[in-house]
Homo-oligomer: 470 residues x 2
């Protein structure tokens, strides 16, 4: 427990109104939505400028304090929650929430770290542009957190991960220096590309305070289809054909199992089955184009027609309206939350090379069913990126706590299979506190050593996000 | 001058047949094609495996020697040429030249550093895939050098820089450890993205020995147009409209001035003017699609038709065949070499935010014309990336040497204007030895300090590419 008097220099920086110390005020910053972490803190600081962030970090170095930056508190691996010692200070970026500029002609915008993703979408749209990062939590997550965790989402196939959407950054280093790297250049080979270090570092190497983002033309036409298939092999073959035909117009390719659709039909408001019969697997396909009348409908029909002939697709529905397209996506976006209604769910956020997805699924499903007979695997996600949310619901009627007690055991089993396919045990959620112990298993000594060398070079006093990632 | 006997441990690693020490053998490795640098070396080592590269670096650390990695020796900033002291040893990656695997379904390929870019294109095509990196030097440059310098080229608009085309790397660190980061994953958030450090570091942080590259669907349809315009403002407005209409199907947008076309007509074999009258400026527009019959012709006609009506375009020609499209590109690709026939040329490889290109050109052209009356600016390049090769040919009949003696003075003038527009003084060629003195002018102290911290953390003995970049 840190004495409040010791924090006075930090509280003075932001002013008492922006230094929360009462339990009722700090509570929302100390708990994340999956209830995996509940932290304690002597204070939540809410700086109003980059200079205040820098001053806080300088003082923290001087006083030997530790700082945990926090955006919209939607992270899934505990990186943004202080630990239980009540010594880690939360640094909330929420007040740095201005869209500084939108350059429609240059296809860029400059935003502060605390901007909520949805607000960024709206600002881009107002300039007739698209910022493509799309996440379930976009109504509350903040762009600083998105970049610090290199967030993925459903638009990665066409537009890349968060890393690919950034041209420049402003960062406060752990030692309190401000780096102004807010460049708007598409090409710049003048030395090391330092912004790459901070993207995906989960706040361990610096605090991102502002960013220059890439914008894209807004799609003028879109087609969405929902297809029933027999197996993931067919989904892979369909993906390969669709990508070859549609190229960059293929903007979504999501895989779902029948059990996930059944969960949606039981628990998701407004859900209905797009197809008349049941199929073991489903894919949602989205095509987009910047041009109206780009022949997307014909292209989708051609893709599906060929797939029928090749025996890859059993049945398919094409969305006849925006509302129907939204209804298809509603099933996909609802797939995570409905699992809560079916008891305990043991989760894995993994990726394998795209071509290995079917073989991985076969092996992993068999393994968890052997480990917990009656368990219900609900693997779904971004097939086109090789990223599967391999979630496993408890057997019907089983004891939830007893099932969840096998979390680590099942993780180990599934991650072992991921490893055989040269995959990743954290495709898009990051490491944080939840998966830190896994790093020593999946990374070589030299890779861990390089990470530590960088951490030491940037944060010699271990002030920023200690115990996360490295 | 390093004593050859002192090099025996290194020569033993590769064997005498792969350790070149005779001046006649080493000469091709010591001079680059623009004749800006002529180096000396005690030996050129040509290792045949990653393990041999690692052994060389371990010995170099032990013996206090310095190593300069070299790919296809096509770099433009002297980074790959040893200095004049005859102490720096050249490490040629040319023998690591295997395409290890091509995964058509997963859209990836794994290649060794010494693979010539054109060979990679061919291997991708053989699997009905595209590797999009496109450079004038593709017949001799090697992929290891392309990645180490984050090469750009003419396909950046649609596919990004080299950095964006990499999924994984194998790297030998300056201290001789091998990092196997050859992952084929589209999403992987397990710790720092270390590959980013080595891409664009110009061989100062490690030697890239192999890479997993992203592949793309091969375009099935393409349309190329050549348009005459009055000014760069019109070109920018046309680019903005074309991008909004074509989205990711806009794969090329290159700007050229009339004087450049005239140089081509005088000196470039087979060049002819695509348009009947002369225009002050030209753009080459390329549209591509993975689908045949995607309506590209109609799209191009619509883009140009709208631009005519808006008064942006004076005249335009659409390529009626692949040969005609190649003839349009021939003018663009010839623009650099024809400048040699017109006497001295002072060069700048700069970028500014895309929307600032017209204002930058206006100011920079006026400035160099005021500095050297009669000089002939030939600014051309990747308008869609904001990347202009701002080359300035000498006045007709002027003394070449006297003109080139003003290189630094003109660079300073142009770079000053680039700086006003928050641009980059090396958009795609890198820093190497040529531009190292510029870094202190264009980078903040904290940015230089971060670069040095990283260099020290990875190369404590300063073995790899000393005096380049940092």
């Amino acid at each position: 427990m840190t004495d409040l008097a010791a924090l006075k220099p930090l509280i003075d920086i932001v002013g008492p109104a922006n230094a929360l110390t009462e339990p009722a005020d700090t509570a929302p910053y100390l708990r994340e939505w999956r209830d995996l972490y509940q932290g304690r803190t002597p204070a939540v600081l809410r700086p109003g400028s980059t200079q205040e962030v820098a001053a806080i970090l300088r003082e923290a170095n001087r006083l030997g304090l530790r700082i945990v930056p926090q955006g919209g508190n939607t992270g899934l691996v505990g990186g943004q929650i202080p630990d239980e010692t009540a010594t880690e200070i939360v640094l909330s970026l929420a007040r740095l929430n201005k869209v500084r500029t939108v350059d429609a002609e240059g296809y860029t915008m400059t935003v502060e770290a605390g901007c909520v993703l949805e607000k960024i979408h709206e600002a881009a749209e107002a300039a007739d542009r698209l910022f493509p990062l799309t996440l379930g939590s976009q109504g509350s997550c903040q762009i600083g957190g998105n970049l610090s965790t290199n967030a993925g989402g459903t638009a990665v196939l066409a537009y890349g991960n968060s890393r690919d959407l950034v041209l420049g950054l402003e960062v406060v280093l752990p030692t309190g220096e401000i780096w102004n790297g807010l460049r708007s250049l598409r090409k710049d080979n003048t030395g090391y590309d330092l912004k790459q270090l901070f993207i995906g570092a989960e706040g361990t190497l610096g605090v991102i305070t502002a960013a220059v983002l890439k914008l894209f033309p807004r799609p003028r036409a879109q087609e969405v289809a929902f297809a029933g298939l027999n197996d993931p092999e067919s989904a892979l073959a369909l993906f390969t054909r669709a990508r070859a035909k549609a190229g960059p117009m293929l903007t979504g390719f999501e895989l779902m199992p029948r059990v996930g659709i059944e969960f949606c039909l039981s628990h998701l408001h407004g859900a209905r089955d797009p197809l008349t019969a049941a199929h073991p697997w489903y894919v949602l396909i989205e095509l987009s184009s910047g041009t109206e009348g780009a022949g997307l409908r014909e292209l989708m029909e051609e893709i599906l027609g060929d797939a029928f002939e090749a025996g890859l697709v059993e049945d398919a529905a094409l969305a006849e309206s925006g509302a129907q397209a939204a209804a298809f996506w509603h099933l996909r976006h609802g797939m995570s939350e409905v699992q809560r209604e079916e008891g305990g769910s043991i989760k894995h956020d993994v990726s394998v090379p795209v071509a290995s997805v079917p073989a991985f699924l076969k092996q992993a499903i068999a393994a968890v069913e052997a480990m917990v007979p009656g368990c219900r695997p609900v693997p779904f996600g971004h097939m086109g990126d090789g990223n599967i949310h391999f979630n496993v619901s408890q057997p019907v009627g089983a004891d939830k706590a007893a099932y969840l007690a096998r979390w680590d055991e099942m993780n180990e089993l599934v991650h072992g299979i991921v490893h055989e396919f040269n995959g990743s045990v954290s495709a898009e959620h990051g490491i944080g506190r939840l998966k830190r112990h896994l790093l020593t298993e999946v990374k070589s000594d030299i890779e861990l050593d390089m990470m530590r060398r960088i951490k030491t070079a940037f944060d010699p006093n271990g002030v920023l996000n200690p115990g996360r990632v490295v």
